[in-house]
Symmetry: C2
Subunit: 406 residues, 2 copies
């Protein structure tokens, strides 16, 4: 017997038939003798509609009212799933954020979880009742409804699993696990049985859309074993676990990519201390996240080129900010290129092995792919390449690191 | 300066443009110096969709979960209206049933209001803030969301007006007031400036669809002055008030009709004591409401005919119940006729004037309309006629009692 939190996303509860399918999945776990709590998102499409209405009512709107409106989506699905469970003989009741309570701070629209009262839920689970918990939502210290921000339902599920000391948090989604890379690009991509929290975190932040970064951080912090699996198949998914649970660690576990990048180059920036502050200070103030940064060695000791990446959606804003700071920066020219992609190799095995990076550069060079910027961390190497090379680079690296399925 | 509760129904908040129109109406009252609280329904159509989903999930479903699902509709509109108000410079915030709290019993799906905490709302209204309150919903003693049943938003508004000691409760709807009769039938129908609670109550329960019966009862009990008026025009509506506020009372204030009737006749029922219990006992147990009842004088002292009306939707069920009780009742035959209508004249002036009833029978007789059943109360006379005579009867009575517009 285990204690399990099962989380179902918007497509899994997209209509009543699917909600009934979810109910049957939950029933199977209950009949296997497990204690089960369920977390659900809003029906797919609902949240977008609610957000659109808020914008239509006023482009700049009160985040507290936004949360009240948007949280209604999960209110609908918890009630419907509780009904569907009862209909097939599973005792169940819905729980809204304020009823648990699922306490957060008052940062509406992107609230942080502060604590979850699990005692009542545990008592009921012990009696065989299934709590159906609204994902994405909580309640502020002043009793207003809060939401955790996009993808927050994964975070809700992991936080609930931590509060209930669950043995596992199963995230049901429309893919059947975490792959070595995007199967739409590499036919030979393989589903991983296990992956470490750290690798999953890198994958999530580097473009793999399976789990929200924040939910992985939460799982890592609280040691919650997470399983990513499909709502629509019975196949086991991918377990996200502590490193020591994985006996034989590959050097590279996966290849991620993101087309959501833009490259900006400041040409002939004066090469003196403090210039970086003049560039990145105003960008940070404008809320532009800067990712990879590279500065060439200056040839003449007077001026150099400074290149960095920002999110594609932020490029125009970044250019406007830089234009305003032009006088202080004193560069010759600003070049921008939205047609770039970031390709990354990820693996905790890199920590103890040298040569992974040079192997990457060699492999890309053999395919004639020019590397624009490089950035590395303990467990990942990312390169920026021209966007048109994305698929070629991903496939080359997937093969290079021995990830192709036999 | 007055304190006003403004209530807007589903069509008035049916889309964002209409919500903005509502916001402007609220702003006008605020700018006129009034303290204002607003009660809103769900967008038109939303509640029906949510109810349909509950039924699809399970035909017989947990009323607590139903309430959780269905109450989400008002959660959306309060948030959106608060945003729309803020957008035009009116300080506003949304209030859900559990936040006020708006306390009810735990009769889910048809909860009774037990009490409303008005202090916090009053403090904020005193500062110029507009509370936007979710109609139709409350919170049970155990902290579950409850709903008041169909049309409950009118009742919410009146109850809130009572709790806030408001000077007036304005019910905004798609008609501009209460008419002497249905203007679709009688072109010369006139809008009433004022009507008494008692008359409004009779009109509501006799088929006029302007206000929910329950909200009128609540208004009468707490002495809340209610105004029915149009969301889409600035014309003053109809005030529903205490009798003593109306100086010169007409004998008849309005003619109502309902096609939602069916007539059942038990032919040759044994004429002995206790027979009525055998008929109406089983019907009451089956939840069938019986309205008008007439029993002929028995000609031979042994058997008589017993005629009564039920709601059209209940007719088949009533017949099944009577079939089961046939042996005990011992009548010769049961006849049923769904093609009937009830036409009523209503007016508090009747109390002090004789002759209103005979005037009615004369007027109908002159048009050749046969009266099947008669029932009277202190302030109304109702007759059952063949359905095809409905319009003719309504027009005849409207003219007869001097209600036609000049």
């Amino acid at each position: 017997m285990a204690r399990i939190v099962m989380k179902f996303g918007g497509t899994s509860v997209g209509d009543i038939e699917r909600i009934k399918t979810v109910a049957r999945r939950v029933k199977a776990e209950v009949e296997a003798g497990h204690e089960v709590a369920v977390v659900v998102s809003a029906m797919s499409g609902t949240t977008n509609q609610l957000v659109a209405w808020c914008r239509e009512a006023d482009l700049v709107h009160d985040a507290r009212e936004y949360d009240t409106v948007v949280a209604s989506g999960e209110q609908v699905t918890v009630g419907l799933l509780a009904i569907a469970l009862q209909a097939i003989g599973v005792p169940a009741r819905s729980w809204l954020g304020w009823q648990i309570p699922f306490r957060t701070d008052d940062a509406h629209g992107r609230a942080r979880i502060e604590g979850i009262e699990g005692a009542e839920l545990l008592t009921r689970m012990g009696r065989g009742e299934v709590p159906v918990v609204a994902g994405f939502q909580g309640v502020s210290p002043t009793g207003r409804i809060t939401t955790l921000g996009r993808g927050g339902s994964d975070t809700s599920a992991v936080a609930l699993a931590a509060a209930l000391h669950a043995d596992r948090c199963d995230i049901y989604t429309d893919v059947d696990g975490v792959y070595t890379t995007d199967p739409r690009i590499v036919a030979k991509a393989r589903k991983l049985d296990k992956i470490t929290f750290e690798e999953m975190l890198e994958m999530a932040s580097l473009g793999a859309k399976v789990l929200q970064t924040r939910s992985v951080e939460m799982a890592m912090k609280h040691g919650v074993r997470v399983q990513v699996r499909s709502t629509f198949s019975d196949a086991p998914g991918t377990l996200v676990v502590d490193e020591d649970e994985i006996m034989e660690q590959k050097l590279v576990s996966g290849i991620a990519y993101s087309r959501d990048e833009a490259k900006i180059t400041l040409v002939r920036v004066p090469d003196h201390p403090g210039i970086a502050a003049h560039v990145f200070g105003p960008l940070a103030q404008a809320g532009v996240n800067v990712d990879m940064i590279v500065q060439n060695v200056s040839e003449d000791g007077r001026a150099t080129d400074l290149t960095f990446t920002v999110g594609k959606a932020d490029m125009e804003r970044a250019l406007a900010v830089l234009d305003g700071a032009r006088a202080q920066i004193g560069c010759e020219r600003v070049d921008a290129d939205p047609n770039v992609a970031k390709v990354s190799a990820i693996g905790v095995g890199m920590r103890s092995h040298a040569g992974i990076a040079s192997q990457m550069f060699d492999a890309l060079a053999r395919k004639g792919i020019n590397i624009m910027v490089i950035s590395t961390s303990e467990i990942k190497i990312s390169v920026l390449v021209a966007e048109e090379y994305t698929e070629l680079a991903v496939r080359a690296l997937h093969a290079e690191y021995g990830l192709d399925a036999a």
